[in-house]
Symmetry: C2
């Protein structure tokens, strides 16, 4: 039995060998790893650390590692490989992984590489589909059965035609026009009577997806039905490929990371220790966009500078009123965004969600507003100040509830990813409303 | 061929039937769905909508739906079923799903139900392991092979002993002491020569996990190696169960949702349209905790009320200085938290991460600080104000970088989920430092 490799230790081992200039040993160590581990370790090294190792690995070894790597990492390493060698690597890769790598490249470079590849015809069709669709993530289908075969014939057919390394998920059954008519599991084939015909044991109700379906939707379907693979078909129901569960695992990870990063307002391409220039490109634009909305909030405060000059105590409570509104709005918005992503909420539920969140916001506002109002009264010995804060906070919690529902659902209707832009709009609303309610009430009641 | 059910339409159909009091038809509609779809639709209905349908479904039908449902939803529906009927349902469920449902219940109720169940001995052992470990999510293993069997014998053995509905993932090979010695895929068995012995074609290097391994770690291992299942063993290497890829899909979804909700500071049990009381329990405590830290920031501002009374313009820029620091800190923190979760970052990388993020923070600070400084100068015709803001923002970006790295990595060392508490600490640091730098500098240079 084998324990899984601890990646951190493996990375440290390689770094240790590199530091001692034992480059051949470092390459040999990587070569000895499971391809999945080799891929992870290579991806974690810096480009400079990686280069001497990449130079020492064979095209075959690189291809196996690439098959297990995500596109960003593949593309970074591919830049360190000369074109001729890259063609050798691409020819040895799984067609779907090769298509992913080529998809990361500029069109001219892609065309040059395809022209030089011996088996380009296996890869090129996959490049027709956007990378984040069923067509973009599908794999080749293994051997396919015919409906009139007997079980014994089918098993013999598999022995003859299937010597590939890859997992056999399901066996698809075609009619004479090449259209998908059913599916049989390998288990079903083994357990059946050898004289039965395939069409007697197949399941004719195959759930299929179209090549242009979004990869996240494909992933959720496969996950919902606990399938190991989903067939991708064209309009005539001819089988184009299959999306397998291991690809779906990667899709779900990728989509979750994308949502997490977008909600935190960094680019979904963010990676720890990417080149500094890349990190700035991933973060600075978001900070600048936020800046414009922050100036809106500042503009509101600026209107009340006269009030604040006479009652500077208002400045003390500004962060609380706006901050709590922002927190409550983020809570609502995040639940909406995640529920939309998981398919648990639909834009048709807008009114119901609005009624629900307004109730929650009102109760949260009453609780938090009363608490802060009492503290302010006690702290600054000013009951009117306490009342102003309490009322402003309740109002801002209601604004937060409305923005938290309306912003993501509206973005969804507009076909913009709700995770992408919701944070900015929601906090703008809570900042602007918070300052407006609080300073407006303050200028009326405290001067 | 079949298109996947559109869940929103299905829910609407059921609501329509319920509104017209066509209760038998609503139940019949649910009954006609794929169990996975029935599970989703039942989970989306409100408890009141669901009740008449749940009453009409047979224990068998409920069991199939429960097998595909997550624990929270199952537990909610189980409360609507009398104990006697619940026992009937539990007896018909998959043991691992039944264990999940029982795990949601108070100990006394769990014991009562187990005592009444006919097949409690299949479920009880699964309850020994915490629900978020390999042992807690594992399933029964199918028929197991012996190393000296021939391939023909193995296939005959499967035909005799395997008529279960469930997918066969891998075939595990045991020695005479019941210890796991290898694994064969069904494909490998079919393609092999019938006279070969199982031990000749098996892979002896099986990657195994211990029952107490965290479910997220199990999920990442399975995903890394693209396996369909991972065997769970005890210290003597005896096979206890298998974790299958469909469970891993659910684990990854669950863990991603947990991280997203915790980062947004709501309970990971949050669900759209949960009872209002539950929603308040999921959100209000987080708002109150945030309130304490917000008072820290207010305390800092309060120290400078005298300054603000004389230069109220400072209040105008307070939201920008603190807000941009908070955004930058959240960016850094989120990348750290996600990279830790994905296993791409280790606490050993603390110093490297700190050096890296300080560089990014400094450059972001220079860019944003300069920009805001210039705008402030132009807007308020006050160059000193511009300089104060620029310097304060650069300082706060550095504080954000340090907090964004140190907080999540420290929580990881302390074995607290970094997603859980990082937001609060990071924004506290950026609020306090932001106000301190800005108002402190302002009081020195602007009065």
């Amino acid at each position: 039995m084998v324990d899984a490799l601890v990646l951190d230790d493996a990375v440290e081992t390689v770094r240790h060998l590199l530091a001692q200039e034992r480059l051949d040993e470092a390459a040999a160590y990587i070569r000895g790893l499971h391809p999945a581990d080799a891929a992870e370790v290579l991806a974690r090294l810096t480009p400079e650390e990686r280069l001497p190792i990449v130079r020492r690995l064979s095209p075959e070894e690189l291809a196996h590692a690439f098959d297990r790597m995500d596109e960003d990492d593949m593309a970074a390493i591919a830049q360190q490989i000369g074109r001729e060698r890259l063609v050798d690597v691409l020819e040895r890769m799984e067609p779907d992984a090769a298509a992913d790598l080529l998809g990361e490249m500029p069109a001219t470079e892609q065309a040059t590489l395809l022209a030089e590849m011996a088996d380009a015809d296996e890869v090129a069709p996959l490049l027709e589909y956007p990378p984040d669709t069923a067509g973009g993530i599908m794999n080749r289908v293994g051997p396919m059965l015919r409906r009139h075969m007997t079980v014994a014939e089918a098993l013999e057919f598999l022995r003859q035609h299937y010597q590939d390394e890859r997992e056999l998920y399901y066996l698809y059954v075609l009619d004479r026009y090449g259209r998908l008519v059913g599916v049989v599991s390998l288990r079903g084939l083994i357990l059946a009577n050898p004289e039965q015909r395939v069409e007697e044991i197949m399941n004719p109700d195959v759930i299929t997806v179209q090549a242009n379906m979004d990869q996240e939707e494909v992933a959720r379907l496969l996950s919902r039905y606990d399938f190991l693979a989903l067939p991708v078909v064209d309009e005539e129901n001819r089988l184009l490929g299959i999306v397998t569960v291991d690809d779906v695992l990667d899709v779900l990870e990728e989509e979750a990371t994308e949502d997490i990063y977008r909600l935190a307002q960094v680019s979904e391409h963010s990676q720890v220790f990417s080149p500094i220039r890349q990190a700035l490109a991933n973060r600075l634009p978001w900070l600048v966009v936020n800046l414009f909305t922050a100036f809106l909030a500042s503009g509101v405060v600026s209107l009340f500078e006269g009030t604040i000059a006479r009652a500077a105590v208002l400045a003390t409570f500004m962060p609380i009123v706006a901050g709590q509104g922002g927190n409550a709005g983020t809570q609502t918005m995040t639940i909406m965004v995640r529920s939309l992503a998981l398919g648990e909420l639909d834009v048709r539920d807008m009114w119901r969600a609005l009624r629900y969140e307004i109730q929650v916001g009102l109760l949260n506002g009453l609780a938090v507003g009363t608490l802060v109002g009492l503290v302010a009264w006690a702290w600054k010995a000013n009951p009117v100040l306490g009342a102003v804060i309490a009322v402003a906070m309740i109002g801002n919690m209601l604004a937060a509830a409305v923005a938290g529902v309306v912003v993501p659902l509206t973005l969804k209707v507009l076909r913009v990813d709700p995770a992408l832009a919701s944070s900015i709009f929601v906090t703008t609303v809570t900042d602007v409303c918070g300052f407006l309610f609080f300073l407006g009430l303050g200028s009326m009641l405290l001067l």
